[in-house]
């Protein structure tokens, strides 16, 4: 007993004297998972990947000096393209669009099957050897996932970007805001991202029409009917494992056949798809000159409306179309839409080259903000006496 007391006494005294400190809120952050990334140069003219980054700080021929390359885990959002874009992009596959309409679609519409970012999660600085390890300390919020509590999934792309403003975050821009009566003020075509916008140099998931490796987070059973960045038709790819994983898909080619398949509710078959554990390394090819690649710049762009709704504007009294890309287009007729399509044309303006994100602005001579065929229009300039003198499109019959 005495021996026991002698051995315990120092311990009791040491404890009582305040040796040892509770961790409290100062605990070292333990990541939930870690995601490993390796970047490579994309060699122009080759179909493979180039050498790992050498030095990492200088991008040749970029002309922008030192780079501060980060890789961010960017969670995607569910998004529907606006009818004007998806319908004309579809038509473009089978027949040539009029030149002015093609220009508007090409410069104002984003990839209808592209990855649309919602929010950036974890972030890591790219090491000189082009590698990075992202420590994920929080799970995606419920609003980043599609499905209910028993079956929901979220997808993320790993986006490599130059942190131009040195804030350590991938800053998202958005297209020109559509809510408003006129194309004035902040919506007058100036860049909607003041300062130095971050530049995207590569990503693991750019579009469903390109090969991708994406981070998936699944809770519950996987529902193959969820058309949220699907990898081929139902059941074509194995269900992702529970929680975090890395999924890959070869992407599908955009052809009239695949488009018809998508329109009928069935995504086209992809050549391959795979599943890997989250500790696998994701290789991302960086592009030396991403400035000319809208697919990259759009990865730093969110949306104003993810529901595919077109917002129609009342034509202003004056509008200078001199330096704008515009076209007159009929109102879209969607599948099953057998009524309510007005006659006449709408005026569609594409975003300007100095705007950070692609977008379109729609004007209608008559209608409401959400429906150009509404029975009680909010505005009606169809009468020749009321019609703006600059209006270039066909009026309703």
């Amino acid at each position: 007993m005495a021996t026991l007391m002698q051995s315990l006494l120092p311990l009791v005294l040491a404890t009582w004297l305040g040796c040892g400190k509770p961790v409290g809120l100062d605990a070292p952050v333990t990541p939930l998972v870690q995601i490993h990334v390796q970047t490579t140069w994309h060699v122009s003219g080759s179909d493979g990947e180039g050498d790992p980054l050498d030095g990492g700080a200088q991008m040749p021929d970029s002309g922008i000096g030192d780079l501060h390359l980060h890789v961010a885990l960017v969670w995607g959002q569910q998004w529907l393209p606006e009818p004007f874009c998806v319908l004309n992009q579809s038509v473009e596959l089978v027949s040539a669009l009029p030149a002015d309409l093609k220009n508007v679609v090409d410069s104002g519409c984003r990839d209808s099957f592209g990855f649309i970012p919602d929010s950036a999660g974890a972030d890591a600085i790219l090491a000189p050897d082009g590698s990075a390890t992202i420590s994920v300390i929080s799970l995606p919020h419920a609003d980043l996932m599609v499905g209910d509590l028993t079956s929901r999934i979220g997808y993320a792309s790993l986006v490599v970007y130059d942190d131009r403003n040195l804030d350590g975050l991938l800053n998202f821009r958005h297209p020109e805001r559509q809510r408003g009566d006129s194309n004035t003020g902040n919506d007058a075509g100036v860049s909607d991202s003041p300062g130095f916008p971050d530049v995207v140099y590569g990503a693991s998931f750019i579009s469903m029409t390109q090969p991708d490796r994406r981070v998936a987070y699944l809770e519950g059973a996987f529902n193959p009917d969820v058309a949220f960045y699907p990898r081929g038709p139902r059941g074509a790819c194995p269900a992702p494992p529970d929680k975090f994983s890395i999924l890959s898909a070869s992407g599908f080619s955009l052809t009239p056949e695949t488009l018809a398949s998508i329109a009928s509710g069935e995504f086209p078959l992809e050549q391959s798809c795979d599943t890997a554990p989250i500790d696998d390394t994701i290789v991302i090819a960086l592009n030396e000159n991403p400035a000319g690649l809208p697919a990259f710049s759009e990865l730093a762009c969110t949306t104003n409306d993810n529901g595919g709704t077109t917002f129609y504007r009342r034509p202003p009294t004056t509008l200078d179309l001199t330096d704008r890309t515009w076209a007159c287009a009929s109102f879209p007729r969607l599948l099953g839409d057998d009524a309510g399509v007005p006659s006449g044309e709408q005026l569609v303006l594409a975003s300007t080259p100095n705007q950070a994100c692609r977008g379109t602005v729609h004007y209608s001579l008559r209608g409401c903000n959400n429906d150009p065929a509404c029975t009680t229009p909010s505005w009606d300039y169809t009468a020749p006496t009321r019609r703006p003198s600059w209006w270039p499109c066909a009026p309703p019959q």
Binding site: T15, W16, G18, G20, D26, A27, S138
Partner: protein, 193 residues
């Protein structure tokens, strides 16, 4: 105070007489049950709240000094981006009191020496969503720190042997060899037979 005054005002004459006779002598024993609010001993932020109890016994016939013991349990829960930290604190003190009678009650200074046991449990935020178990999900450990309190206290007899107490003052804990200052307060119901 309105409630207090009402309680005194509506006391029966016999009760008032008992109360009046008690004004001039400190009680031999005081047993106290109290609500406790304190700065957490080990967390750098937050508020620890709980319950406690104390016992005081008069020393000598003058009633100027008393001794006793206090114990309380309180809990503070704080959240970081990655963890929920919950500290349960058990404060144990031996007390010495210097007091002064005044009207229906007394006030004084209470010096407490003892220790505070802290049970800290940390739960990984969103850990259950990810299916973590065991130490990946939750960790807990006990700590014991020497501590000292200096409280200003006020006891007021309200009805017969029942009264209320109010106390508060600075607290010092010795944590990992360094003094950590804090404070504690209590509001209680006392029984002074």
């Amino acid at each position: 105070m309105v409630v207090l005054a009402s309680a005194v005002g509506f006391a029966s004459p016999a009760t008032a007489q008992v109360a009046t006779s008690a004004e001039y002598s400190a009680p031999t024993h005081v047993i106290d049950g109290e609500l406790v609010l304190a700065r957490p001993a080990a967390l750098t932020t937050g508020l620890s709240s709980g319950v406690g109890s104390s016992y005081l016994r008069r020393l000598g016939s003058s009633g100027t000094f008393a001794w006793g013991a206090r114990a309380s349990w309180s809990r503070a829960t704080e959240y970081s981006l990655t963890e929920t930290v919950r500290d349960d604190e058990i404060r144990m003190r031996l007390c010495a009191v210097a007091q002064h009678l005044a009207g229906r009650g007394w006030f004084g200074l209470r010096l407490g020496l003892g220790a505070t046991a802290v049970h800290e449990s940390r739960t990984r935020a969103q850990g259950t969503r990810l299916g973590l178990t065991g130490s990946d999900l939750e960790q807990a450990s006990w700590y014991l720190f020497p501590a000292a309190d200096l409280d200003g206290i006020v006891f007021l007899r309200v009805w017969n042997a029942w009264g209320m107490s109010l106390a508060g003052g600075p607290t010092v804990h010795l944590i990992d060899g360094a003094a950590s200052a804090g404070w504690s307060t209590s509001l209680g119901v006392s029984w002074q037979p």
